[in-house]
């Protein structure tokens, strides 16, 4: 990082901290403001609530104080006494109560009228209603009534709902605990909202006399809650019952309606508190306090006074402060940046001169001197630097040279090590045998694969030369190449040869050798690549051996046929010759026969022999000879086929077939056959052999015609991929399915009695096709005709004429 950047960074950090501080101050002041306002309104709420509690307590105490007056108590005692005289106060009360409750609402029963108007009632009305009305303009007790100790109403200021009260829970609570309080509710009797207070009345000895019950109108009291409403315009005050019904609020409301904001209600925990919340999407500050009552007689109903203010309004002044802090901070930051830029530029200029100079000197220009005037630290540094450079100039020259040399060597060594590592990996893990061989033939280095091929452990192999393990039969060839490479006549060579493995077995390998020479041209070492080709080589050798053997056998077979045919011919010449001589002799004998005087009896016996039997025998002999001669000639032809040399060329089959048809013209005409030759593709073959082949096929077709119908022979051909397929088809006698496989066998004749031939025609065809890489197959139906298909290699040069 450049110095100027460091200065800038320092300024930026400082300014960022300043800004952060400003924001923190804003945040903290806001918090404390919130707290202060919360407290303020909480205190107000507390005071207000206290006041409400006090007012309610006052009213309760008022009832109590005024009801325990002796004259009131004496009335009750009197009633108790009269009830005590009754046989069954219970029955009496029930009767009166039935009468009371059965009377219509709007009519007053005589009993009620009497009750309302008795002395006590009048006194109570005076005490609790009329006098207070006069005093305050309203009575806080809209209704009040008294029961004796049995629960019967003995006096009332209004209209109680029943006569007998002893079964009511408030009555029992009051009797047992001295006081019963009921939370604010609508009182139908007085048509007002109030709390009900029931108090036990005792005589001075603490004996239970009766109960007084009063409805306390709290309307004016709860209105004092408004005091808690703060000076803010947005302020709102609510007084709620324990279960969230509105008793009072600073805006229009219906008494005891449910306060709907449940989330707000849920936050009003404990006796008091303040918090920030939302109401109708507006942020507000809330303070609340719960009624605590006054003493054990009035422990409070759990009412909640909730005061809230709009946060915006409350914090309006804080907002102004915040904006100011932001503006000042930004201005401060901008000023800081501008100053930092200026400062860094000034320093940067000096540093630039120093740095550029140092760089130039560092780059090797030791003649350079820094031009930086001034009496500040930069000027001093420049001066010192210039002095230092002069000193450096003197010692650098030799050292630079040394360092450069060391660096160069290090680099070279590293490159060498890596190259060596790569070479070693390649050498060791190659899938072929690799070796470095000394100019004299010793194995210098060998890899694992080579050891595996020759079956030697590495250390053992390295004590040997390649001459040691090369098969003696292959050594001369290898040495010949080896000498040529050493002499520089060739640079590399490759040959297939055998090594002798450690276990004595030979292994065929493919060896590729090149020579590495030193800088002065002296042979350094050979690099040999050795590939195991044992399996391939053995397979090749076996194949060659079999092929040779096959050829030999073939040749032998043909020789046998050839020799045998000739040797068989010699005796045949004799048999034929002497049987002819014999028949000539017989003729001579017959002519002599006439002239001699042979007795008639003998003559008659001998003449049939001479005339018939002997000539007939001779005739059979001659027929046999003729047949045998045919066979021998055929065999000779067949053996000669295998020995005739082939001239493979493109054959114009149209011309070839035309020649054949012309040659056989006589036979064709004689048989009255119609021969049609379509345009034929050329093929690759020997002209003479093909002539023989198609002559035989055409000859066969002519030979096996059906005498029952005019003969038709078609010859056509097509080109199929790289082959030409020809078809010679006839409408002759055809070949039965079971014979179709045998017709290509030697000496096989379909119909020896009816046709001539040596039985070799198709065997010869087969033999010719063997040699020309051709194929033949037949499709035939007995009685319909035959088609012979011949497939031959096509001429690669195309369909040239």
């Amino acid at each position: 990082m450049k110095t100027s950047q460091k200065i800038m960074a320092g300024f930026l950090v400082t300014l960022t901290l300043t800004a952060a501080l400003a924001f923190y101050a804003d945040f903290a002041s806001r918090r404390s403001l919130e707290e202060a306002i919360g407290h303020e309104s909480l205190i107000l709420a507390q005071e207000t609530m206290k006041r409400i509690d006090l007012a309610i307590h006052d009213k309760i105490m008022y009832v109590w104080d005024n009801a325990e007056q002796a004259w009131i108590l004496s009335h009750i005692v009197k009633s108790n006494q009269s009830f005590a005289e009754l046989d069954s106060p219970e029955d009496f009360m029930d009767r009166i109560d039935r009468e009371w409750t059965s009377s219509p609402q709007d009519t007053l029963s005589p009993l009620l009228l009497e009750l309302q108007d008795n002395e006590l009632s009048r006194a109570l009305r005076q005490q609790f209603i009329n006098s207070l009305l006069k005093k305050y303009g309203y009575s806080p007790f809209p209704e009040l009534f008294v029961t004796n100790r049995y629960g019967a109403v003995i006096a009332t200021t209004g209209r109680t709902n029943s006569y007998r009260q002893d079964k009511k829970s408030w009555w029992q609570t009051a009797r047992e605990q001295g006081i019963s309080l009921e939370d604010i509710a609508y009182d139908a009797g007085s048509d007002s909202y109030g709390i009900a207070v029931a108090l036990r009345l005792d005589d001075s000895d603490g004996n239970f006399l009766g109960v007084v019950k009063a409805i306390v109108n709290v309307g004016p009291i709860v209105k004092t809650a408004e005091i808690a409403t703060s000076r803010y315009q947005s302020a709102r005050t609510r007084l709620l019952t324990r279960d969230g019904k509105i008793i009072f609020r600073s805006r229009p409301y219906r008494f005891l309606q449910d306060f709907s904001d449940v989330t707000l209600i849920n936050r009003l925990e404990g006796g008091e508190g303040f918090f920030v919340g939302n109401e109708q999407n507006v942020q507000r500050f809330y303070s609340y306090v719960r009624s605590k009552g006054k003493d054990r007689h009035y422990p409070g109903f759990g009412w909640i006074l909730l005061v809230s203010n709009d946060a915006d309004e409350v914090l309006a002044s804080a907002e102004v402060l915040r904006t100011r802090i932001a503006v000042v901070s930004i201005l401060l930051i901008m000023a800081g940046i501008i100053f930092a830029l200026f400062l860094s530029m000034t320093i940067n200029r000096s540093l630039g001169v120093l740095s550029a100079g140092a760089e130039r000197i560092g780059g090797g220009d030791l003649d350079f001197r820094m031009e930086l005037a001034g009496d500040d630290e930069f000027g001093q540094v420049a001066g010192t630097f210039n002095a230092m450079v002069r000193n450096l100039q003197e010692i650098t020259a030799s050292r630079d040279e040394l360092n450069a040399e060391i660096d160069k060597r290090n680099m070279a060594e590293k490159a060498l090590r890596e190259s060596e590592k790569r070479f070693r990996a390649t050498f060791e893990q190659a899938a072929v045998g690799i070796a470095l061989v000394s100019p004299r033939g010793g194995w210098l280095r060998v890899n694992r694969k080579l050891c595996a091929i020759v079956g030697y452990p590495e250390d053992k192999l390295r004590q040997l030369t390649f001459q040691d393990i090369t098969h003696p039969d292959d050594l001369d060839t290898d040495l010949d190449f080896y000498r040529q490479v050493l002499a520089g006549e060739i640079s590399t060579y490759s040959l297939e040869k055998r090594y002798i493995r450690l276990d004595g077995s030979p292994v065929w390998i493919n060896l590729t050798v090149s020579l590495v020479r030193d800088d002065d041209g002296t042979p350094a070492y050979f690099i040999s690549i050795i590939e195991d080709i044992d399996q391939r080589k053995n397979t090749e050798l076996e194949r060659d051996r079999l092929s040779l053997e096959l050829n030999k056998k073939n040749h032998e077979l043909e020789q046998i046929i050839y020799v045998t045919s000739h040797d068989l011919r010699s005796p045949l010449v004799n048999v034929q010759g002497f049987s002819k001589e014999l028949s000539a002799d017989i003729k001579n004998l017959l002519s002599l026969w006439q002239n001699t005087g042979i007795p008639a009896a003998i003559r008659n016996q001998a003449e049939p022999l001479l005339h018939q039997d002997i000539p007939e025998s001779l005739q059979f002999i001659e027929k046999g000879i003729a047949r045998m001669d045919d066979l021998l000639n055929g065999l000779l032809r067949l053996s000669r086929l295998g020995r005739a040399s082939l001239t493979l060329e493109e054959c114009d089959m149209n011309r070839l077939l035309a020649d054949i048809v012309a040659t056989m013209d006589f036979q064709i005409k004689e048989a009255g056959v119609q021969v049609e030759v379509s345009d034929l593709p050329t093929c690759r073959g020997d002209r003479d052999q093909l002539n023989q082949l198609f002559s035989n096929l055409l000859g066969n077709a002519l030979k096996y015609l059906d005498p029952g119908r005019p003969g038709r022979i078609n010859i056509n051909g097509v080109k199929e991929k790289d082959r030409s397929v020809y078809c010679v088809s006839d409408n002759g006698i055809g070949i039965a399915r079971e014979h179709q496989g045998k017709i290509f066998e030697i000496f096989h004749r379909l119909n020896p009695a009816e046709s001539e031939g040596d039985g070799l025609g198709l065997a010869i065809v087969n033999r010719i096709l063997d040699r020309l890489d051709g194929k033949i197959w037949v499709a035939s139906e007995e009685g319909r005709g035959s088609s012979f298909y011949v497939s031959l290699p096509g001429w690669k040069g195309g369909n040239r004429a």
Binding site: Y562, H566, D567, R569, S570, P571, L572, V573, N574, Q576, G577, F578, S579, K580, E581, I625, A626, D629, L636, R640, R643
Partner: protein
């Protein structure tokens, strides 16, 4: 044909020899006919070796030679005759059952005068021998002296 021409038949098959002999006579050849049953005997006679009969110096000879023979075959006999300065003058007619063109060519290359195939068909055989007789009657056969 002059009487002093001797006809030598080298033929291992007695029957063939007899048939050739008979038919040459029928064709009117009256020259002396000497028959050998193998090539060795013929060579001994001509080269005047061994204990058998030897040719006479100054006489003329004509050789009918079979190829397939025991001991020394006809090809070898032909080769030796043609290799000899003097005996090469003797006309050699190959008379054999072999009609293999390569064999025929071989004999001509070695220097045979004629090549006759023995047909199995006796009529043809007789014809061939008759023609051979005619040939022998008109051919000029040089005398062969004793130095060979």
């Amino acid at each position: 044909m002059r009487k002093e021409i001797h006809i030598i038949i080298a033929e291992d098959d007695d029957g063939h020899a007899a048939l050739i002999n008979k038919n040459l006579r029928r064709a009117g050849i009256e020259n002396e006919i000497i028959r050998f049953a193998d090539g060795q005997q013929a060579l001994d006679f001509l080269f005047r070796k061994g204990g058998g009969p030897h040719r006479k110096a100054g006489d003329s000879y004509l050789l009918l030679l079979d190829i397939r023979m025991p001991k020394v075959d006809g090809i070898e006999v032909l080769r030796q005759l043609k290799a000899d300065e003097e005996l090469r003058k003797i006309p050699v007619i190959m008379v054999t059952t072999t009609d293999d063109p390569r064999e025929v060519e071989h004999c001509h290359l070695l220097g045979c005068s004629n090549y006759i195939t023995k047909p199995v068909d006796y009529e043809k055989f007789v014809n061939v021998i008759r023609q051979l007789g005619l040939f022998i009657m008109i051919v000029q056969v040089p005398a062969v002296n004793g130095n060979s």
